[in-house]
Structure formats: structure tokens, C-alpha cells
């Protein structure tokens, strides 16, 4: 009789332990991911890039030209952003980044460029700035 009781208790403890372990695994893997956060640094970078002159024209002006059908110069101005990210040492801290300029009225995607590994499921931060009828969105993926 006592042996049966002991077995029952051991079984009960085993079940409780299993439930606890499964609960912890559930908490660890299925805890909600924090929403994509914005970042002051990124915001400043995007603002600085939009204001920067590529040749005689500011990137802001190139976005306006792109809205009128000439997107070549805007495409090449992305290299300035790449230079800023590389030279500032930011590229050593991130896995990848992407820049996206979309017309908010028509939904047309003017520029979409990706650098490095942007298919990460880990941390990412983003910022967006309105420029004329478009919106520029910079997203950075952290390890």
C-alpha cells in the first residue's frame, strides 16, 4: 500500500516537472518578439542623407525628380548612404540594412536596395521620413 502511494507521488512529481519544463520552453521560444523599434541614430542618418547633396542636387530633390520619372540619380545616391554606414563603423555592428523609397499616393516603389544579410529574424530597427509625396524607410538588422 505504502509502495503504491510512493509511486503515485513520484509520478505526480514527474508530471509537475514535465509541465514546468514544457512551460519554460514555451516561455523562451514563444515569448512575443518586441515590436520593431525606431532609433534616434537611424533617424538622424536618414535625415542627413535626405539633406545631402549628390552633385548639385540634394537627395530630397532627387526624390522629387524620381516622382516625375527620372530615378537614375536617386538610385546612385544610395551609395552615399552606404559610404556613411561603412565609414561611421556602423557596418561592423550590423548584419545588414535596407533602404526603401515608396510613393505614398500611388504605392510605386522607386528604390529598394538591400545590403548584407537582411533576412534575419532577430533584432531590427527602422525609421521613416516623408519626402515630397514619398516616404523613405531605412531598416537595420542587428545580430
Amino acid at each position: 500500500m505504502a509502495r503504491k502511494g510512493q509511486e503515485e507521488i513520484a509520478g505526480f512529481m514527474l508530471i509537475v516537472a514535465m509541465v514546468l519544463v514544457i512551460g519554460l520552453i514555451f516561455l523562451f521560444f514563444l515569448s512575443p518578439k518586441s515590436p520593431e523599434r525606431t532609433d534616434l541614430q537611424l533617424n538622424n542618418l536618414l535625415y542627413a542623407w535626405i539633406s545631402t547633396n549628390s552633385g548639385d542636387k540634394a537627395v530630397e530633390q532627387l526624390v522629387r525628380e524620381c516622382e516625375l520619372g527620372n530615378c537614375e540619380e536617386l538610385e546612385s545616391a544610395v551609395s552615399i548612404l552606404q559610404t556613411a554606414i561603412d565609414k561611421s563603423g556602423m557596418s561592423n555592428q550590423i548584419d545588414g540594412w535596407s533602404i526603401n523609397i515608396t510613393n505614398t499616393v500611388s504605392g510605386q516603389n522607386y528604390v529598394y536596395r538591400e545590403f548584407g544579410n537582411v533576412n534575419m529574424t532577430g533584432n531590427s530597427r527602422a525609421t521613416a521620413l516623408p519626402v515630397s509625396d514619398s516616404i523613405a524607410r531605412l531598416k537595420v538588422f542587428y545580430p
Binding site: 505504502a2 502511494g5 505526480f12 516537472a17 535625415y47
Partner: protein, 145 residues
């Protein structure tokens, strides 16, 4: 006697359960500690960047064009002659400089009282007023603490 045994067994079971719960709690806390440290670092960094934004907005160096914009001519003037007058604004800082990124060029040192233990930086627009417009580049505003 039999009743005592049962109470003893129950006490052991409860003790084991409490131990298990404590172990689980410690495990969970250790998992969360990493996240808290990361969040603290991020908060510290964001505070430093806010301070840098305030420096960039100082009337002595900011341009009338817009926010997070430094007037290159004003900054050069501060570098040459005006730096000591900004000591109050730079209290708590070891040094403040503008490092040009695009186009490349020499750094502009706004304030320097020695080497810093930790340096924070943020991107700014470095602009120069032309005849009718502004010509801007990208720079890093760095502050050493």
C-alpha cells in the same frame, strides 16, 4: 504512524515542488537578465544621442535650415576662436568634434579638454550656405565623456 508518514511524504513533495519552482525561476531570470542589460545599454546610447542632438541644436553651430543640421562656417568659427565661450554648454564632456563622412574632409574640433573614456556619436547634416541654397554633406557629431 501511517498518518505521520503521509504528512512527511506530502512535506517532501511540497519541498521538492518549491525547489523546482525556485530553479525554474532562476533559469527564467538569467534568461531575462541579458535582455535587461541590452535594454540598459540601448537606453544609455539613446540618452547620449539626445544630448548630441541638443549640441547640434546650439545656436552657435546650428544652421537655420532645419533640425540636426550644423552650419559648417559657424562650426569652423567655433573651432578657431569661440570654443572657450561654449564651456558651459559642454559641461561634463571631455571633447566634441565633427567628423566629416561625405564628402571626406578634416575633422572640426569644437571642444577638447583631454581624452575621453567613452565616446558617443550621431549623424548630422553638415551644411554650408551657398548663394541661394544650402549645400550639405553627412558628418558624425562625436562627444567624449
Amino acid at each position: 504512524m501511517k498518518g505521520q508518514m503521509k504528512i512527511q511524504e506530502m512535506a517532501f513533495v511540497l519541498l521538492a515542488l518549491i525547489l523546482l519552482a525556485v530553479i525554474a525561476f532562476i533559469f527564467f531570470i538569467r534568461l531575462q537578465a541579458g535582455n535587461i542589460e541590452r535594454s540598459a545599454d540601448l537606453a544609455k546610447q539613446q540618452t547620449a544621442i539626445s544630448l548630441l542632438d541638443k549640441i547640434a541644436a546650439l545656436p552657435e553651430i546650428s544652421c537655420a535650415k532645419g533640425e540636426i543640421c550644423i552650419d559648417e562656417d559657424k562650426a569652423l568659427m567655433v573651432e578657431r576662436a569661440y570654443s572657450s565661450r561654449l564651456e558651459n554648454q559642454f559641461q561634463g564632456l571631455k571633447n566634441v568634434k565633427i567628423a566629416r563622412i561625405y564628402p571626406a574632409g578634416p575633422d572640426i574640433v569644437l571642444y577638447n579638454t583631454g581624452s575621453a573614456n567613452q565616446t558617443y556619436s550621431t549623424f548630422v547634416s553638415l551644411c554650408q550656405q551657398q548663394a541661394s541654397d544650402w549645400k550639405c554633406g553627412i558628418a558624425l557629431l562625436e562627444a567624449g565623456f
